[in-house]
């Protein structure tokens, strides 16, 4: 029995030690978008994280926040996971499964596979929020600053280091 337990522990230690390097994001930053009709222009990193974890579900006007996300295997998806929600794509998926199961939210974020479609979806949804890799130009959406910093700022929270 002791031998089996020892083998199991050795296997676990091996797995831990064999962890390879992570998939580093390759985009410089993530731009967080809201509709131009949304009065929000700046947000704290903490509140942004809570929004994308469903802990904050309403805007200040009481409307429910509609979440859009890019696929987590895209560059901006990986940066979003790495810098904002601070968990893996598997854990993020399970987080939302749990949030629905806890009865706190009705639906998980809608995954938008195409950048142009993401911008259109946010622009057309006054209560929507999403993100892309590059800031769009004059498309009916606003790029939020995070704690007063724009995506080009080296201190921007969702920027690759």
């Amino acid at each position: 029995m002791a031998m089996r337990a020892r083998r199991l522990m050795v296997a676990i230690v091996f797995l831990l030690a064999a962890s390879s390097h992570g998939e580093e994001p390759v985009t410089a930053s993530v731009s967080v978008l809201v509709s131009a009709k949304n009065p929000m222009r700046d947000i704290s990193a903490g509140d942004l994280r809570r929004i994308f974890l469903g802990d904050i579900s309403r805007w200040h006007n009481g409307h429910r926040i509609v979440l859009f996300v890019r696929p987590m295997d895209t560059a901006e998806g990986r940066l979003f996971l790495d810098r904002l929600v601070r968990m893996s794509d598997i854990d993020y998926s399970q987080w939302w499964l749990g949030a629905v199961f806890r009865g706190r939210v009705a639906n998980a974020p809608r995954v938008i596979g195409n950048v142009d479609e993401m911008i259109r979806a946010v622009a057309a949804t006054p209560d929507g929020i999403g993100f892309v890799a590059a800031p769009p130009l004059d498309t009916g959406v606003i790029v939020l600053t995070i704690e007063g910093k724009a995506p080009a700022n080296p201190q921007y929270a969702l920027r690759a280091r």
Partner: protein, 354 residues
């Protein structure tokens, strides 16, 4: 109530076929979790089926502010010694949660019906799904009443909760309703006997300054109309967790005191657990090795908890997320449950989400 839940599920099933629009009500969702656990004693013997569960749930967002939720759990116990179910009850069917919620803002959410108390944070976070939790086991303090659990995890009444805006990430919860009945494992709201008022509260914080950290405390006060005596119940729990970048650390300590009215005697039951797990990055991110310590000390001589057993166990294993809907877990566990001697098991679990 189970019939009502099934009707709710049926309605949800019809509506769930279409993809939900961004903002359209009513919005329905139907989901389920299932798992099967096999175990093999290290001292010899055959691989045994330990148990299986199917957890069905349905949610309905009726309007912007109103929603409803129902969950029912079907369990089947196997032959293994550490089966969650009592040997005489091979099948167990229970309504877990059934409530309506009014949620006008993040600061206030009211739930009315049968809810989980939140006195044990593990139960509040994972509820009954073993798919969502990292290890195979539910810690002893979070065991369901019908699984030999000691704490009152089910509650019928009104529960108000919400977030306090700010960088501290503070949250609260307070509830009043019916305490558990004269039989500890009788949780069905319409058929319980001897219920009496109970109150509970929960406070927690998750500060921005330490992303992934959360700590909180909960309290529960009620009366138990046990056969032959009425007891005052006073429970307190503290918990903390740190979940960030693949690291998962959780710990919780719970104390339950039962005091027979008119007597000086106090029965105190204590339990705690510590869970540590880690998800590597890169190709090994589908794996999550874990280690769980689980301890429960039941107040000696308390009749109300006569079928609750002390526990002193640890387990080490790996969760493998095969895909988003299927997880395989394997672990080595050594425990002291009903038997006076320690036993060691090698176990495997297959769990699904659909």
């Amino acid at each position: 109530m189970t019939l009502i839940a099934i009707v709710t599920f049926a309605a949800a099933a019809r509506a769930d076929d279409a993809p939900p629009p961004a903002v359209h009500y009513p919005a329905f969702r139907l989901g389920a979790f299932a798992d099967v656990v096999l175990s093999h004693p290290t001292e010899g013997g055959a691989v045994e089926y330990e148990g299986g569960e199917i957890d069905l749930y349905a949610s309905a967002q009726i309007t912007n502010d109103w929603s409803a939720f129902a969950e029912t759990l079907i369990q089947h116990g196997g032959k293994a010694e550490n089966s969650d179910l009592e040997t005489e009850a091979r099948f167990d069917l229970n309504l877990e949660r059934f409530y309506a919620a009014y949620n006008p803002s993040d600061r206030l959410r009211l739930e009315i019906g049968q809810i989980h108390t939140g006195i044990v944070q593990w139960n509040e976070r994972e509820h009954r799904s073993r798919f969502l939790q990292t290890p195979i086991d539910v810690p002893s303090i979070a065991n369901r009443e019908s699984q030999g659990g000691a704490w009152p995890l089910h509650f019928d009444g009104v529960w108000a909760s919400g977030r306090v805006p700010g960088a501290l990430g503070a949250a609260y919860g307070v509830g009043v309703g019916a305490a558990r009945g004269s039989e500890r494992d009788d949780i069905q709201p319409l058929f319980r006997h001897g219920i009496s008022p109970a109150g509970l509260f929960l406070v927690s914080m998750a500060p921005d300054a330490v992303t992934g950290f959360e700590a909180g405390a909960a309290g529960y006060v009620g009366r138990i109309r046990a056969p032959g005596q009425t007891m005052q119940e006073l429970d307190a729990t503290v918990y903390s967790s740190f979940v960030r970048g693949g690291i998962e650390l959780r710990g919780e300590f719970a104390r339950m005191a039962h005091t027979p009215l008119g007597a000086d005697q106090e029965y105190v039951t204590r339990g705690w657990y510590v869970l540590a797990s880690w998800r590597p990055r890169g190709r090994l991110k589908v794996l999550r090795p874990y280690f769980l310590l689980d301890h429960l000390h039941v107040a000696p001589g308390e009749q109300y908890l006569s079928d609750v057993h002390n526990q002193n166990a640890w387990s080490a294993g790996v969760r493998w997320d095969f895909n988003r809907r299927l997880a395989l877990k394997g672990d080595f566990r050594t425990q002291q449950l009903a038997a006076p001697h320690r036993e060691s098991l090698i176990r495997a679990e297959v769990s699904f989400s659909f």
